[in-house]
Amino acid sequence: MSADVIATSPGGGLLVAAIVVPVIGILLLWLVRPRAVEGVALAALLANLGVALAVLRTVTSSDAPVVYLIGGWQPPLGLALRSDGIAAVFMAMAATVLVPVAIYARGAFGEPGERRPMVFWTMLLAITAALNLIFCGQDVFNLYVALELLTFAAVPLVSLDGSRETLKAALRYLVFALAGSVLYLLGVAIIYGAYGTLDLMGLAAIRGPDGALLLAIGLMTAGLAAKTALFPLHLWLPPAHAGAPPAASAVLSALVVKGSFFIALRLWFDLLPPERAVAGSTLLGIFGAAAVIIGSAMALRQARLKLLVAYSTVAQLGYLFLVFPLGLGSGAAPFESTAWTAGALQLMAHAFAKAAMFMAAGLVYEAIGHDRIAEFRGLGRIAPLTVLTMTLACISLMGLPPSGGFSAKWLMLTAALGEGAWWWVLVIAAGGLLAAGYVFRVLVPAFTPPEEPIGRVKPVVVAREAAALALAVIAILIGFLPLAPWPLLAIGRIAAGAP
């Protein structure tokens, strides 16, 4: 009835640290002097990076997942934290994105002691904890709690400046995310009612093509799709991501939407019997394809950089959902498939490139006082590092080599063509062309010298430019990883050993 007995593995304590470190950070934020808040937050994020890298190291060196049983209780009675290969990689990715974001955000929200910096840093650390919990959570209700924490930490970031417009965007986001939560919770209730357990490993062992499980996963996936802004459930994303302050947009676009996507990935790849996944995964793929095409076409129309970048997120999230049909439809072990690695690479490349892009958009605003693309002439001259950042990020977004975006596109095309699924190839190719179009619209005026000399509106802070640039450089460096399925991503996947 239940899964094999599992035990805390060496290094299991690291998983507790991954959740406790940001929480301690939050507590300290409220205890220290206002001036020390930024320092504390940065220290907590650096410690979090250290923990995440240590987890990744442990997983790679032991070639097995890291597990911690809370209180030593076996699931389903107790709670387990478990980091397999993909969780370790994503945890390290998120931790790496967060540090430059924090460096970028220093001093961006007015004087210490005000409401806004306190809210921002608290929520940033809360997002960190929530993401870590999502990546190594093993219990569908536990994941629900993490998901809610993520949502409630993300929503205030949208309305940080308190304007009417951003409040409206935040409210939209909140209501839609809660609708998603309701569907997810409904699924959790059905699972509990039917199986009496919420533990993913336990469920994987007893699963079968039950109506209850399938109904539950259907409801939960729809809820998660709403939170991930899968087209056509994306109505909240462009105003929220374009309205938030740049540092917040970077986190929302790069990381927060990936949290709910990750849970969907777990449900489909760990729980769902593969033979039942075909029709549903095709449906998700179709919505993903629509996201790629319509999101890119909308990005092409935008007059403002931040909205363009936000619609680009809608499109890039669409590619992620192509992993479902490509990974589950091949018949091969999904975790060793090309599509699985392609999806992971796409998620990471997009995280780094998009965070860099939103931060660059903020720097553009500081340099010239607006983000109207039509008036970008001369940007290259007054903000060269920012334009370099945008260029590198765009190279990854449009999938030129060498970049993470290129590797992801290459592997995704390999997966699609290998299965003879040429319709997905058409979508990927069309998305690439449209991306080239919106990138062209941004970069060409930025490269063009001004007609008359223009000056900066605000002086440049080199550390902030460097933070954005570092993220863009990482997006490029991911492109130097080998173009083949990544064994690391298959470590410790539950279904790999299950019948």
């Binding site: 996963i217 259907g218 056509p232 549903g280 129309r301 030129l400 080599p401 060498p402 010298p449």
Partner: protein, 544 residues
């Protein structure tokens, strides 16, 4: 880097420098504004490692350690194209400071120039798919900066067409590359892939996609739309490197990716047909053009059509020697076409004085493209003789020489009016010297390289060869004289069917508005809520 054991250690280094030196200069000018005035006069140095590599580094390979599966390699066909491309870049680099003056000291000029150059050099030495795709993309996309260098509305318009076709070509190329790699079991080294190609599954679709990508670069009809407006808009030194060097990224693709050792009749014949169609289409539309730059662009379309036809016929017949012949034909075209753009630069800055010394070489080089006996172009035509063989391909080959003669005579009549308004003006010596150098290269280098590509001097000078090459020229002259009698010849805009396609622009705007309307509908609260519920039911239903 792992150097080849049989070669001196500096040789593989040269290969790496061919692409890294221009990139290094690019980094230098990006980072240090102080070097720009000096660099402006030294741009001609940037392609020299490429030239040295072409001369000394044949059969060298460089591969980076895993997991970086990037590699460089040079063989004879690659060296022919690399060396000739380096020379036109060098000549254009000598022309550029004299043509642009102070402007060349600014970043955009130097950055676009060096980025395009880096891509142009690397594409000839790329040994794996990713490096090839990177170099191909770099030379294509950075070329946008050269096309639009003048910043006029016409140039920006031409640039958009250029960019659109460049990314379209790259999309084809990428899909084709992925299929090639799948067919060879995940391999990315080009040599290994092509060796395994005849037995690979999905070979035909892979090659068709690659060829479509290359066709966009070569300007094969109907993917030629970008070429006439782009060469027309690009300043002369830029047009020289785009037409001379950058287009050869497509030629090296024909050399690298087609498995000439195995006859592929259907694909080869289709490519040959497309090539010949471009060869004649280019001439026919070229004759309706009124600016010599546009005529040269259509001549490129026609000449690249001839190269594609040669590649296709060789593929159909399984001729393993085709890569060298194609590269040799391409080498002459680099000097001739790139040189003629430099000649136009020189003529446009020259009044009456010293004009003859500039113009007569133009006549010889232009007719050389049609195969005027004893010129380098004649040797290029002889090199592809075997590929054309006998029967209809041979006839079409000769007819294309007749057609080229007519087009080049049309070009020469237009070139006579390219002159400075100032009757006493003389072009700067750098520009004149660069043109004379390229004219000399197009006439002499094919002779010097003839033994290296296995040609024989005796057969090149045989009376039968002279007759074979001579009659199309004479026929072309006669045809041109007849054509002159036709008073109201039609005049078509550069880019021909582009004008028709542009009429679709409002339709495109309507499509975009339609997307926005759909988006507006879906972002309505009630709709989105209903969609969410439907999705939940649909997902559950799909699984049940």
């Amino acid at each position: 880097m792992t150097p080849d054991a049989t070669l001196p250690p500096f040789v593989p280094l040269l290969l790496a420098l061919a692409s890294l030196f221009p990139l290094g200069l690019l980094a230098l000018t990006l980072a240090f504004p102080g070097v720009r005035p000096r660099l402006a006069t030294l741009l001609w140095l940037a392609p020299l490692p490429g030239l040295a590599a072409a001369v000394f580094a044949q059969a060298a390979t460089v591969s980076l350690p895993t997991p970086l599966e990037l590699g460089l390699a040079l063989d004879r066909p690659g060296a022919l194209l690399l060396g000739s491309a380096a020379l036109i870049w060098c000549a254009a680099g000598i022309t550029a400071p004299a043509w642009w003056g102070e402007k060349l000291r600014s970043l955009p000029y130097q950055a676009w120039w060096l980025a395009t150059l880096a891509g142009s050099m690397t594409v000839f030495v790329a040994a794996d798919l990713v490096t090839f795709y990177l170099a191909f993309s770099l030379v294509s996309l950075a070329g946008y900066g050269l096309v639009t260098r003048d910043g006029t509305p016409a140039a920006l318009k031409a640039g958009r067409v250029y960019f659109a076709l460049a990314v379209t070509g790259e999309a084809f190329l990428l899909s084709g590359f992925v299929l090639l790699s799948i067919g060879a079991g995940g391999e990315t080294r080009i040599a290994a892939i092509v060796a395994a190609l005849p037995s690979a599954p999905l070979m035909a679709p892979a090659l068709v996609l690659v060829l479509l990508g290359l066709a966009a670069k070569l300007g094969l009809v109907p993917l030629h739309l970008w070429m006439p407006p782009s060469y027309g808009a690009a300043p002369y030194p830029a047009a020289a490197v785009l037409s001379g060097a950058a287009v050869k990224a497509g030629v090296i693709g024909l050399v690298r990716f087609l498995p000439y050792e195995t006859p592929l009749e259907t694909l080869g014949t289709a490519l040959a047909a497309a090539g010949f169609f471009s060869a004649f289409f280019g001439v026919a539309i070229g004759l309706t053009q009124r600016h010599p730059k546009h005529v040269l662009a259509y001549s490129s379309i026609s000449q690249m059509g001839v190269i594609a036809a040669v590649a296709g016929l060789s593929l159909a017949a399984g001729r393993a020697v085709a890569p060298t012949e194609i590269a040799y034909y391409g080498l002459h075209h680099v000097f001739a076409k790139g040189g003629l753009f430099l000649a136009l630069a020189a003529l446009s800055m020259t009044g009456n004085r010293g004009r003859a010394a500039l113009f007569w070489p133009v006549v010889i080089v232009a007719l050389g493209i049609a195969g005027l006996p004893l010129t380098g172009g004649a040797l290029a035509k002889l090199a592809i003789k075997d590929a054309l063989g006998s029967g209809w391909p041979k006839t079409l080959g000769s007819l294309s020489a007749v057609a080229s003669t007519v087009l080049m005579l049309h070009f020469l009549t237009l070139a006579t009016v390219v002159r400075s308004r100032d009757a006493s003006a003389v072009a700067p010596v750098a520009i004149r010297a660069a043109w004379w150098g390229m004219a000399l290269a197009s006439l002499a280098l094919p002779w010097l390289l003839l033994p290296a590509v296995g040609g024989s001097l005796a057969s090149a000078l045989a009376p039968s060869s002279l007759v074979e090459l001579g009659w199309p020229i004479l026929a072309g002259v006669a045809l041109f004289a007849l054509l002159r009698l036709w008073r109201n010849r039609p005049s078509l805009p550069p880019g021909d069917i582009l004008a028709v396609i542009r009429r679709g622009e409002p339709w495109l705007a309507r499509l975009s508005n339609g997307v926005a309307a759909i988006e507006g509908f879906l972002t309505d609260w009630t709709v989105a809520g209903a969609v969410l519920l439907l999705l939940a039911l649909a997902l559950a239903g799909a699984m049940l």
